[in-house]
């Protein structure tokens, strides 16, 4: 199934357990704002090379959320993880050198600390960097305000409403997992966003 370019939001962020609350918040905010979240985690095809998969997703997405907050050294290897800056670079490259709709790409860069990126990735100092403080509520607020600005849509609800809905969804999620026989602590990306879409539709019909 193809997803419209103008509605696709590519999420570039860590896939570590401690980052899951922020990742879920991003996915929920994107769905609530009427867009389709895209992630390298949506595919199961083990035959496709990972970078190729990411390049395809970036090509198919007008919007990009790039969270560069994972700057700590990996506990096992003692080395930093460079995947997020690499994917940010691919996205910026597509916007700069791509043709047609690729030049219309819009992105937001987020970090957990306000000015840390200036030391770590000084080349992006000219970009607007938003800070989520490691808080899912702030992550939702940043994504909502950004999508409102870049889309110019007037129908996107305010961050307090989205955060209230998110808290409600999180409260319902264990029961939804029971109904679907999903594992709450082992949800795939598709499990997540599809339940979010249906949950938001059900909630809207109640009103």
């Amino acid at each position: 199934m193809s997803v419209p370019y103008a509605r696709s939001v590519f999420i570039n962020c860590p896939f570590t357990d401690d980052f899951t609350p922020i990742f879920r918040a991003y996915v929920f905010a994107i769905v609530y704002c009427g867009y389709r979240p895209r992630s390298a985690r949506e595919f199961i095809d083990g035959g496709e090379i990972r970078l190729q998969k990411i390049e395809n997703l970036i090509e198919q997405s007008k919007f990009g959320i790039h969270d560069v907050s994972n700057m700590e050294l990996d506990a096992d290897s003692g080395l930093p993880r460079f995947n997020m800056p690499l994917e940010l670079g691919v996205f910026l490259g597509a916007k700069r050198f791509g043709d047609g709709s690729q030049k219309e790409k819009r992105l937001i860069i987020l970090d957990s600390d306000q000015y840390r990126y200036q030391q770590a990735i000084s080349d992006i100092s000219g970009q607007d960097i938003e800070c989520h403080n490691g808080d899912p509520a702030d992550a939702i607020r940043c994504v909502r305000h950004w999508l409102r600005a870049v889309s110019r849509r007037t129908t996107i609800p305010g961050p307090a409403r989205i955060n209230a809905a998110y808290a409600e969804y999180e409260a319902d999620l264990p029961q939804i997992c029971d109904e679907l026989q999903y594992d709450l602590d082992d949800l795939t990306f598709n499990d997540l966003w599809e339940t979010m879409v249906e949950w938001q539709k059900a909630r809207a019909d109640e009103r």
Binding site: I44, G46, I176, E179, E198, A202, R203
Partner: protein, 64 residues
């Protein structure tokens, strides 16, 4: 490498089976956990919709 009890399922070009201990799908070659749709295919949108609406209805009922 994880012990497996079945190798009938496939995901992409990977040969996969279930870990005998955890029951989760793994790559038979290196034991890494992977995700494949459950037997009979992934849940349809209709199934997800019905489950979600059931939960919402019970919550609304509980709230009075």
């Amino acid at each position: 490498m994880a012990k497996t009890k079945s190798s009938s399922a496939k995901a992409g070009s990977l040969k996969v089976g279930r870990d005998a201990k955890t029951g989760k799908f793994v790559n038979l070659k290196d034991g890494r956990k992977i995700v494949v749709p459950p037997a009979g295919g992934a849940l349809s949108k209709v199934q997800i919709r019905e489950a979600v609406r059931k939960v919402r209805a019970s919550r609304l009922e509980a709230a009075g």
